[in-house]
Symmetry: C3
Subunit: 349 residues, 3 copies
C-alpha cells in the first residue's frame, strides 16, 4: 500500500459521503499574532481582551476568518488536492466564537456531484462543519470545487446539484450568546459609525493598499496547514504560464477584510459568508486595494445590527471608482475578489 | 459622512488637544515570538521567565521596544497619516514593565504646533502616553512630525514650540519596582560585563550585520497595527524616485538594538529614550550594522546602573571605524539611525 | 577588554571543557505558531492539545525539532561562530517532551579535538545537553564542526577523536513517560498506517515540494537566536562566490520533516537523531523535496513502535526515483540533506 496520500479524484466521491478531516488544530495567541502580522487588522473586538470583556465576551475571540482558514485548510487534502479551481462558497454561518485554547476539527459531507461534459473533471459540493473540543459547531459552509477525474472513462455514481441559498437570511444569523454592544466604545473602535449610519447601496472606498510578498502568503497559508501544491511548489509552478505560485484566495479575503477597517471600523465581526468568488488569480508583489458596498441591513435586536456587505478587492488598482462588473457582467480585469458577507455592527438606539 | 478616515492635517490640530487613539491591543507570547523572529534579540531578561524571576520580576517582561512600537502604531492614524517626515523623539520614559496579557492603549496631547514658512506643512509635537488595562502609564514620549496642510491658505490657530529636554535626567529614570540584579547570572546573560566595566566615551562595534527583507519589515510593522502607507502601498511607492516601500524607522531601531547585544549583553532593558533621528531612509535588502558609544553612566542604587548610550546604525557598511558625523556635522551617507537612550545594567559592587 | 564576543577559535577549546551557553529561552505558543507558519507541519500530536491528551500527555508537546533548534542556536556563539562547516550529528537522544512555558538552557562538553593537517582549522566535537527549568535534560546530542584557528602557529593541547555510535540503539530510546497510543485516532492522524505497515527497506516519496524565501529562513533562524553570520549578513555574503546567504541546515531538516507527513503521517515524534549530513548548501528560492527509507524497526512495548528512518532532501528535484548516493558513494548533486533518525509510531496489536 502506498503511504503517500494522492488525494481524492472526482470519481472517488459519493453523494452523502462524510469525510473526517485530519489534524485537529489548537488555536493559540501565536496564531492571532501572526494573523496581525500578515494582515494588520485593527478591529478592536479581536485586538483587545478588555474591549471584548466590555462587550460581554470572556476574552478577545479570534477573527472568524481564522476559524474559517483553519477549517478550510483541513479540507484541502481530502477535497481539493486535485482541484482545478475553487469555484465558490455559500451558506457560510459562524455559529460560536473561537478563543485561543480551543481545538478545531472539521468534517465535510458531499452534497453535490456534477461531472463536466468533457468527462475529465467534475464539480464537487461539500458542506463543511468545523467543531471545537466540546463538539460544538463553530462554523458551517458550503464550497464547490472543480476536481480532476483519475480517468475520463471512470463511471460516476449518482449525481446531483444542490440548491443553495443566494444569501444567508438575516433571521438565521447567530450572534455570540453573551455579546453586548450597549457599552461599545466607538473612539476605541476607531470611528463613530454605527448601524444607523450605513445606508443600503452605500459604497466605501477603503483607500489603503497592501502589497503581499511570497514569504507572507506562503507563511499565512502554511499556518492553516493548507497543503494545496499551487501555493508552495515553485519548481512545479515554474512550468505554468504564470511561472508563479498562486496565492491562496483566503489570503486575499483576509487582506481585503483588514483593509475594510478604513470605513467599516466597527463592523469587524463576520457572522455569515453569503458567497464569494476569486475572480482572477493574485500573485505576490501586486498591491491589493478594496471597496465595499452595503447590500442589506438587519436589526438583530439587543443593540446589535448586521450589515450585508459586498467586499471587492483589486490588484494594483485603487478603488475610488468602485470597479466591479460592467453592464455586460464582465469583471474589470484587475478585480480579484467579489465576497458577500454579513457582519455585526453596534446599533446606537 | 465619509466613513473613510483621511487622517488629520496640520490645521486640524490644536494646542492642548487630546487624542484618544483607537484599537487597544493585548500583548501576547505570540508578539514576543514574532519579535524574536524579526530581530533575533538575545537579552536574557526578555528571553527567559526563569531569568526574569531570578531578577525579581514575575515573568519575562516584553522588550520595552515592543510597548513602544505598539503605542507608536496606535498614534499613526491620528498623528502621522499625512506626515511628510517623522522628525524626532524626546523625553521618552518607560514607566512600568509590560507582560504578555497586558492590554495597551494610547493617548496623545498636542504640545506644539509650528507652521512652516511655505505654509504647506507644519510641525506637530505630541506627548503620547501608553497605558495598560489598569490605567497605569507604561511609557510616555514626545515625538514631532512634519504634517501636510489640507490647504496652504488655512489659518493656523495658536502656535508654540515646546522646550524639550536634551536627555532624560538619570534621576528621573524608573526601574521596575521589584527588579533585583543581585543574583544576576552573567554567564546566562552572555558576557561578564557589568556597569563598572563601561567607560564614558567607550565605543563598541557590534560587528554583526543583519539584512531585512520586504516581507520582514512589512510583517513587523503590521504587527504593531501601524498603518503608514509608505510601508505597505507598493503601487503608490512605485511613483516615488526610490520606487520602494520605506521601512518603518522602528524596524531599524529594533534591528540595531538586537545587534547591540554583541557588546552590551547585559544592558538590554531600555529605561528612557533621550532622542532619535532617522538620518536617512532604509530600504529592504541592505544589511544593517551598528555601533554604540557610552555617553553617560549613573548608579541608580540597589545594584542597578544605567548607561546612556548612543546607538548608530548604518546600511551596507561595517562599523569598525564608528561612522557618524564628520567635523562639519554631516552624517556619513550610510548612517541611517542615531538613537540616544538609557539602559539598565547590573552593577557588581 | 573588548565587549564584543569574537567566538572561540580552535586553539581556545580544551578536551573536557564545559561551556554554559547564554540566553535561556522560554518556549511559547508563539514559537509553535511560527514553526507551523515556517514549515506547515501536520502531525496531530503537536497540533492538537486534545490529541495529545488522548495520548496520555498533559497538552501538545512542541515538535522535538523546536527543542533541538533552540538548544543548537544557543551553542552557536560559543562553538561555531568561527566554523567553516557543520560536519555532522550523532548520538542525539530526546529525553523528555518540551511544553510551551518550559525554559530551555544548554551546556556543551568538548569531547574531541583534531587539528587539520593544514594547521589552519580543526574539528571540534561537543556533546550538548539541553535542560528545562527543573534541571531535567530534554535532549543530548553530539555534533562536530570545523573551526578556524586564530593562528596557524598556535599549539593545540591534547587531541582526541571520540568514538561515536553509528546509531542510537533501539533499547536506548526514551518515550515520554505517560505516552499511550492505545486510543490513537488514525483518521485524525491523517492515515491508517501503523508500525506494522512499514517494512524495512521501504522507500516513500513524499511528493510535495516546498519553496523557502529569504525572509522565511532568516526569521526561522533568528527565532532560535542562532547568530551564525552566514545566514544573515548579506553584505558579507555578497563577497562569497554564491553571493547569497546560506540557509541554516535546521531549516532544511524541519522542511523535509514536515514534507514527510505525506507517507509518515503517524510517525511525527522524533526520539533520536542517529546522524545527519548537510550534503550541499541550500539557498533560498529553490523548492525542497524529500523521500524516506525505513532503515530499521523496533517494538518499544506498550503499543509504541519505533521506525529508524533515513530522510533525504533535494533541491529543485522531485524524489520519485529516490535520489541518494550512486554506487561510487557520490551524492546526486541536488541532494542537500541525508538525515538518520528514530521516530515513534503507534502499533496496532
Amino acid at each position: 500500500m502506498s503511504k503517500t496520500d494522492p488525494g481524492h479524484y472526482f470519481e472517488d466521491f459519493r453523494l452523502g459521503q462524510v469525510l473526517v478531516h485530519a489534524t485537529p488544530r489548537t488555536v493559540t495567541a501565536g496564531d492571532v499574532a501572526l494573523y496581525t502580522a500578515f494582515y494588520g487588522p485593527r478591529f478592536s473586538l479581536f485586538s483587545s481582551d478588555e474591549v471584548a470583556r466590555a462587550s460581554g465576551l470572556p476574552a478577545a475571540p479570534v477573527d472568524p476568518l481564522i476559524a474559517f482558514h483553519i477549517v478550510f485548510g483541513k479540507t484541502v487534502p481530502d477535497i481539493s488536492l486535485n482541484a482545478v479551481a475553487n469555484l465558490g462558497y455559500a451558506e457560510g454561518l459562524f455559529l460560536a466564537p473561537v478563543y485561543p485554547g480551543d481545538t478545531l476539527m472539521a468534517e465535510s459531507e458531499v452534497i453535490g456531484l456534477k461531472e463536466n461534459s468533457n468527462r475529465k473533471t467534475g464539480v464537487v459540493y461539500v458542506r463543511t462543519t468545523g467543531t471545537n473540543q466540546r463538539g460544538e459547531a463553530v462554523l458551517r459552509y458550503v464550497r464547490w470545487v472543480m476536481v480532476r477525474k483519475r480517468s475520463a472513462e471512470a463511471e460516476v455514481a449518482e449525481q446531483a446539484t444542490p440548491k443553495l441559498a443566494e444569501a444567508v437570511a438575516a433571521s438565521d444569523l447567530i450572534i455570540p450568546a453573551t455579546l453586548d454592544f450597549s457599552k461599545y466604545d466607538y473612539a476605541l473602535g476607531g470611528a463613530p459609525h454605527a448601524y444607523e449610519d450605513y445606508e443600503i447601496g452605500e459604497k466605501i472606498d477603503h483607500v489603503d493598499g497592501m502589497a503581499i510578498e511570497e514569504a507572507e502568503h506562503a507563511m499565512a497559508t502554511r499556518l492553516w496547514q493548507n497543503t494545496a501544491k499551487v501555493h508552495f511548489n515553485q519548481f512545479e509552478r515554474a512550468k505554468d504560464p504564470s511561472g508563479r505560485r498562486l496565492v491562496y484566495g483566503g489570503v486575499v479575503i483576509s487582506t481585503a477584510k483588514a483593509l475594510s477597517f478604513n470605513g467599516l471600523q466597527n463592523a469587524g465581526l463576520i457572522l455569515a459568508i453569503n458567497g464569494g468568488r476569486h475572480v482572477s488569480p493574485y500573485f505576490a508583489g501586486a498591491t491589493v486595494f478594496a471597496w465595499s458596498e452595503v447590500l442589506d441591513k438587519a436589526d438583530l435586536g439587543g443593540g446589535v445590527g448586521a450589515l450585508r456587505l459586498r467586499l471587492v478587492a483589486t490588484k494594483d488598482r485603487p478603488c475610488d471608482d468602485f470597479p466591479g462588473k460592467d453592464e455586460a457582467g464582465t469583471y474589470n480585469e484587475q478585480v480579484i475578489l467579489d465576497f458577500d458577507y454579513w457582519a455585526a455592527v453596534p446599533k446606537r438606539g
